[in-house]
């Protein structure tokens, strides 16, 4: 039988502990604004209709597919940097500011990571529209007095919806390298800038890649537009030291358009030193097989331009 004296003896410290207990958790409506301001995984990806790619598929379709894969890889890498923020409760909440961290960078001992988000009223839109600024910051703890610097920054401006709006993201890899951060995972990348608009169709995503000076590829510019019916456009400018087989060519402009069915068209343009340009066009159907092929040098020409959907 439990004695009352014993019960009271144990209840008293329990009650004291309870009084000292503070509520814990992440149950917050306000946090939703911050979480929804961050682009989610897949949201900024180019969506080329899925189709079976074969050896006989259109050459430019296959090139489009490769570009889309690269584009999506970069977008995913950038989004994933901030996506994890959603998985954790802020370390501190202060009105319109949320801070996660600082945390030790397990992969790079001696470095700390901190994520900060600030929500402000949008001066260009009536309340409750808002804009959010966020950044991923790094600090070298082995250097006394070192301060956090921005490794990535972003903005988001709502447009009548918590999830849809326009925003920018910037990844400063070279800045991190210059500060001594071992950014080996990023290869030749020096900076990545991404701007997007998801409030209404067409959805636009513009990505600029700047590589380090020593890289053979100096950078790329991607412009993606997505319509409500599944049709889309991806324009791709690529600056390189040389294009194999095309002496003097350093810039590649490639524009691909497609319908929701998957049928599409791509045009390539490579200015040459001669003043001419290497130009080509492919049109393909929903089965990805070429309906029309045209090259500036006549190699492999096929079909009629009338069969192109664009």
């Amino acid at each position: 039988m439990i004695s009352r004296k014993s019960t009271m003896k144990h209840l008293a410290p329990l009650l004291l502990a309870v009084l000292a207990f503070d509520a814990c958790g992440n149950y917050s409506n306000e946090d939703l604004d911050f979480q929804l301001a961050l682009p989610e995984d897949g949201e900024l990806e180019a969506k080329l209709p899925q189709a079976l790619t074969t050896d006989t598929s259109s050459e430019y379709y296959k090139l489009t597919r490769q570009v889309v894969t690269t584009f999506n890889g970069l977008a995913t890498a950038l989004v994933s940097l901030v996506d994890r923020v959603r998985s954790f409760s802020p370390t501190s909440r202060n009105g319109d500011e949320r801070i996660w961290g600082p945390f030790a960078d397990d992969k790079h001992p001696g470095w700390q990571i901190q994520v900060a988000m600030v929500r402000l009223a949008d001066p260009s839109a009536p309340p409750p529209a808002f804009q959010v600024f966020y950044s991923i910051q790094l600090r070298d703890t082995t250097q006394s007095g070192s301060a956090f610097f921005e490794f990535m920054s972003g903005t988001y401006k709502s447009s009548g919806s918590a999830r849809r709006g326009e925003g920018q993201m910037h990844l400063f890899v070279q800045t991190a390298r210059d500060a001594g951060y071992p950014a080996d995972d990023f290869g030749d990348l020096a900076q990545l800038d991404l701007a997007y608009q998801t409030a209404s169709y067409p959805i636009d995503v513009h990505m600029v890649v700047q590589n380090v000076a020593s890289a053979t590829s100096r950078g790329a510019d991607y412009a993606y537009a997505e319509n409500a019916d599944g049709s889309g456009t991806l324009a791709f400018d690529w600056t390189v030291d040389a294009v194999p087989g095309l002496p003097g060519a350093t810039d590649v402009t490639f524009t691909s358009r497609w319908l929701g069915s998957g049928a599409g068209r791509a045009d390539a343009y490579l200015p040459l030193l001669t003043g001419n340009a290497a130009v080509g066009t492919d049109c393909w159907g929903a089965d990805t097989l070429p309906d029309y092929v045209w090259r500036w040098n006549g190699e492999g020409d096929f079909g009629s331009a009338d069969s192109c959907v664009f």
Partner: protein
């Protein structure tokens, strides 16, 4: 404070005649004993609940089944049961006794009742049992010896002092004479008196002393056996002495009999159980109290100056108290299994009255458990909170209620509840549906006010709850959210007994919740519950 009870018989204190008729003890052979023991704290709408009636029944039942000649299978303890159940049990015993007799066994049937009686009826809750009819039925029972003991009451005002004493368990061996047959009736008070109970002794005076005497302190013949006459004489003397100065006046137990034969009933054989306490002749005279670990008086011994005393005590640790005019003598003893411990006066020390070890002792038997299951509706007072943060929720709840645990009339309750509801929060015109879930565990401490003979029991008090609130959004890109916190509140309810041990329960709670995730906000919520409880 004491509570009074009305007598059941008008036999008067004819102790001498009783003793004469029950003068010669005789041991039983091939005897089988049956016991129906009932206690009921409630007596219906026009009575106040008793404090110790059920306690008295438990004590008497324990004596008979644990240490006496009554096998547990031949005893029935009815606590707070209705007259219909009492009669069903009685009929069952009649049948079993008849079977035993057909097998040549000599039988004794003991019926004990503690509770209210009024207008010639025993009051078992809100049911009644005519005393005349019961007496006639007992007289006609097939047992060789029928013993009826009635410690009955209906209402009264008495003065109860602090402290309580719990009756010890002790050995009973009963041996009816081969020749003795008939009916013996004992009652706790005469016709124009009210029986009394007291917190000081933790029971009714009569039952407490009857049981205490049977433990060994009534063994005046010093033959290590306590007969029915010895027990009665002891209970009579102690009851009269202790109630003489009470507000209700002296209480005189009575008896009546219709016996053939001249042998007494031996109820206790202390030699059959060795462990206990021996107070030698050399020990100072006085009343010794032995208090168990819970602060209850487990046994008492009135020791004369020129005699020793022995009492059966279960193995365990006890504190000893002997009261002098200006101080206490206190000490500690340990009775080992199978050991008869001799009390050593040198192990006692002087202590002020403020160190009385009896203080703070309480009544185990008052503790009552009930379990309730029900449905609860919960909602926050603040509309925006209710609409977008914590939506109104239906909960399934269970509560374990412990009555009279910390204090008589107090309710200590432990509860759990769980439920779920749909909700939606809108951010920038974007609706975000979610599934809200809640788990709560709470502890309440409340005061009860029994009405209508315990049929209706309102209560009110404080509650401390632990809440685990969580929500999952339909948009799975939004992480799950949770809040874990404690919440103090108030609780009020009412329990209405439906039938038997079942009662309907209605309850309201109001709680405070400090929400501190985004900012510190003081929130409140209410709960309404309905359910069914079962008393164990």
């Amino acid at each position: 404070m004491s509570r009074t009870r009305r007598h059941l018989t008008r036999a008067g204190p004819r102790v001498g005649l009783f003793l004469a008729l029950l003068l010669t003890p005789a041991l039983a052979s091939a005897e089988r004993r049956f016991a129906l023991v009932a206690g009921n704290d409630a007596g219906g709408p026009d009575t106040r609940p008793l404090l110790f009636a059920s306690q008295d029944a438990r004590r008497f039942h324990a004596v008979l089944t644990q240490l006496g000649g009554v096998a547990p299978s031949d005893a029935d303890l009815l606590v707070n049961r209705r007259a219909e159940e009492f009669l069903r049990s009685f009929a069952s015993f009649e049948s079993r006794i008849a079977d035993a007799q057909r097998h040549g066994e000599r039988t004794v049937f003991i019926v004990y009742y503690s509770g209210h009686a009024k207008d010639g009826d025993l009051r078992l809750g809100d049911s009644r049992l005519g005393f005349s009819a019961l007496k006639a039925r007992l007289a006609a029972a097939p047992a060789d010896i029928r013993v009826g003991i009635f410690d009955s009451c209906h209402s009264g005002i008495v003065t109860r002092s602090k402290g309580a004493r719990r009756a010890p368990a002790f050995e009973i061996e009963a041996a009816g004479s081969q020749e003795t047959r008939g009916l013996v009736l004992l009652s706790s008070a005469s016709a124009d008196e009210e029986a009394q109970e007291s917190d000081e002794i933790g029971g009714s005076y009569f039952s407490q002393y009857l049981v205490s005497g049977l433990r060994g302190d009534a063994d005046r013949s010093r033959d290590r056996r306590v007969t029915l006459s010895e027990a009665y004489a002891y209970a009579y003397a102690r009851t009269v002495a202790d109630t003489a100065e009470s507000a209700a006046g002296a209480q005189h137990p009575t008896f009546s009999f219709d016996l053939k034969g001249n042998a007494d009933l031996v109820l206790t054989d202390l030699t059959s159980r060795r462990e206990g306490l021996y107070v030698p002749t050399s020990a100072p005279a006085g009343t010794y109290y032995f208090i168990d670990g819970s602060g209850f008086i487990a046994a008492e011994v009135v020791k004369p100056a020129d005699a020793d005393r022995q009492i059966a005590l279960p193995a365990g640790r006890y504190r000893v108290r002997r009261r002098l005019a200006d101080r206490l003598r206190i000490g500690e003893i340990r009775v080992a299994e199978g050991q008869l411990l001799t009390l050593d006066e040198s192990r006692l020390r002087d202590a002020p009255f403020s160190d009385d070890p009896v203080k703070g002792g309480r009544r185990d038997s008052d503790v009552r458990l009930s379990l309730s299951l029900g449905a609860t509706v919960q909602a926050f007072f603040d509309a925006p909170t209710r609409d977008s943060l914590f939506p109104p929720t239906g909960l399934v709840s269970a509560e374990l209620q412990v009555h009279n645990f910390f204090r008589r009339g107090w309710l200590w309750a432990l509860d759990v509840a769980g439920g779920s509801a749909g909700g939606q929060v809108t951010r920038l015109d974007t609706p975000l549906p979610f599934r809200f879930s809640e788990f709560t565990a709470g502890m309440s401490l409340a005061t009860e006010w029994p009405l209508w003979g315990n049929r209706l029991v309102p209560y009110a008090g404080l509650r401390l709850a632990y809440l685990l609130l969580s929500r999952k959004f339909e948009d799975r890109t939004i992480p799950d959210q949770f809040l874990s916190t404690f919440s103090p509140g108030l609780v009020a309810g009412v329990r209405y007994r439906l039938w038997g041990e079942f009662a309907a329960l209605a309850r309201a709670r109001a709680h405070y919740l400090l929400y501190s995730v985004d900012e510190n906000r003081s929130l409140g919520y209410w709960e309404l519950s309905a359910g069914v409880s079962y008393d164990f």
